[in-house]
Symmetry: C2
Amino acid sequence: MKPTVHDIARSAGVSLATVDRVLNGRPGVRAVTRSKVEEAIAALGFVRDLAAANLAKSRTYSFVFILPDYDNSFMKGLRREVVAASERASTERTEIRIVAVPHFDPHALVAALEEVLADKPNGVAFVAIDAPEVREIAAKLNEAGVPMVTLVSDLPASSRDHYAGIDNIAAGRTAGSLLGRFLSGREAKVAVLAGSMLVRDHRERVEGFLAVMAEAYPNLRVLPVIEGRDDSALVEEKVSEAFEVTPDIAGIYSLGGGNRGLLRVLRKVPLEARPVVVAHDLTDATRAALGEGIIDAVLNQDAGHEVRSAVRVLKAKADGLPVIEAQERIRIDIFLKDNLP
Amino acid sequence: MKPTVHDIARSAGVSLATVDRVLNGRPGVRAVTRSKVEEAIAALGFVRDLAAANLAKSRTYSFVFILPDYDNSFMKGLRREVVAASERASTERTEIRIVAVPHFDPHALVAALEEVLADKPNGVAFVAIDAPEVREIAAKLNEAGVPMVTLVSDLPASSRDHYAGIDNIAAGRTAGSLLGRFLSGREAKVAVLAGSMLVRDHRERVEGFLAVMAEAYPNLRVLPVIEGRDDSALVEEKVSEAFEVTPDIAGIYSLGGGNRGLLRVLRKVPLEARPVVVAHDLTDATRAALGEGIIDAVLNQDAGHEVRSAVRVLKAKADGLPVIEAQERIRIDIFLKDNLP
DNA sequence: CAGAATCTGAGGTACGTAAATCAGAAAACT
DNA sequence: AGTTTTCTGATTTACGTACCTCAGATTCTG
């Protein structure tokens, strides 16, 4: 049988109240008595029953998720996952509040975080914008002891407790290797299509991609980065333009949103002239394109995993418990048409 | 505030005892009263507090994990993960018993499962061997209402509740596509290295691989499958032999264990003549080889994820709760040297 | 050595649910 | 009508921990 506080009390020869004082770090216990109790705890291998403790405390967890009100497939999916998590969480004394903020707007994010600071919930998760003012408020939250998880897009490691997202440099490198291998040695031109170089994750993907190109694929010439603002109409326009200027594009790395626009252009390219394409984010559009062979590989981050991970980590931090690192590592999923879920 | 059983009782105008009878499906409630209570439950949106319920019941979960006593890297890792899960589980009123059985021995597995049937734990997970006698005992366990999860290797879907493992046909197909793309169009010979064609997962990988070869890569000639018994010494011997007979092997799909033996041979092959290699299972050896460029891609199943998933599913089944399908899907991880964890 | 300050024990209530007992009410039988 | 059966309410105890109060014991202070 698992030992209980009563067993500790009996074994240490003290009363329940004293055990309770030791366990919860309350004052009023002599050092000698304290260590007697601690020995008994260690000897019996007592571990506090969290469920019972939470019940007694009527502890509830309150978490805040700050999400950009951006309307691309990925963010929509992310919101959906947060809502789903929030519904499940209600059975577990956990309340998840969702706050929407205008996207790419550091000030709006800061304002939302300031409200969080005033509120003092048991944890906060947000899609970070790596700007000085955001780092500043993050430092304040940290100081105030509010567990903090960045979601999808990170801040410097010092100012948050955990990052639930992929390593974007590694993602860029992976895309580079795939493209390089798929193009296998031939002299060719490669286009890079990003959303915006102002966003850290996109910058990092480009960085990783270019590094691999430079290191391993001197045969490939990378054209200037096209910024499509994650907007499929704009993407379509800019990619069309690029094909007019450079008809012999042999490879494309699309690392942002707006892939629908890219696909519209690609479908017009004659089959034999179609470039090798590596894109990000598994959506209905990219999934279909993978199946047709218009896209060759899709890199993906699992929004569901990210959200569940964020909730688990926040809960663990709130309880002062360790996290299972391996479980919380967000992978870069690589999908070919053969391993689609 | 979340409604409690007391609120239900008050709202329905019945006593606590009656609410309890309805909630737990006990007899002794008239149909009219029952539906009154059910209406109140629906109206208030009551959800039973599982933590409190389990506390009151002093419910404990007892799960059995049956693992083959096989000593390759993967099985060692799997056992390690089960042990880790078992340690964590002890804080959550969950006891995980680990049973070792001789590997590839259907009768030993059946014997272990028969013990489980006598024991009636709250759930069982095992690395399945797809043999008639195993299916038979699985059916009995199913009938006895013991939740059952197959781990790594599956049975037909009907006889278990859940499979915590990868889709091996998809894995084979993925390997085939990678190899095909990496070899890009040239006429070449490809070797397939399996552990044993008697094991279902290996058979399925080969099946998927050959299917893709036939569909999409007519330029590649697949040599007869080499069976290395997951034993690195034997693998080394047989692969050496294969290279003697066919010096111009341009691609290798290694889908079983014993990769250390394969690597010993490959390191002797002159750099420019080295084949493209896709292997299974990320171990110290394959990880190092990826880094060196001796292996080009590694397909992996995350043993930690599989074990945690199995535990979550067993718990959910024991509580009659739904599982989050997306969370329990085990991915085929694809590692290049660029996205190693 | 008295008085104050600090420590400790005993006991209780609470959290939300499960499960049991017992008594009374209502319905279904003779 | 009386008897049996079935339903329902009231009440209690329990799970393991948290947290409160109060009294008594011990130590420290002057």
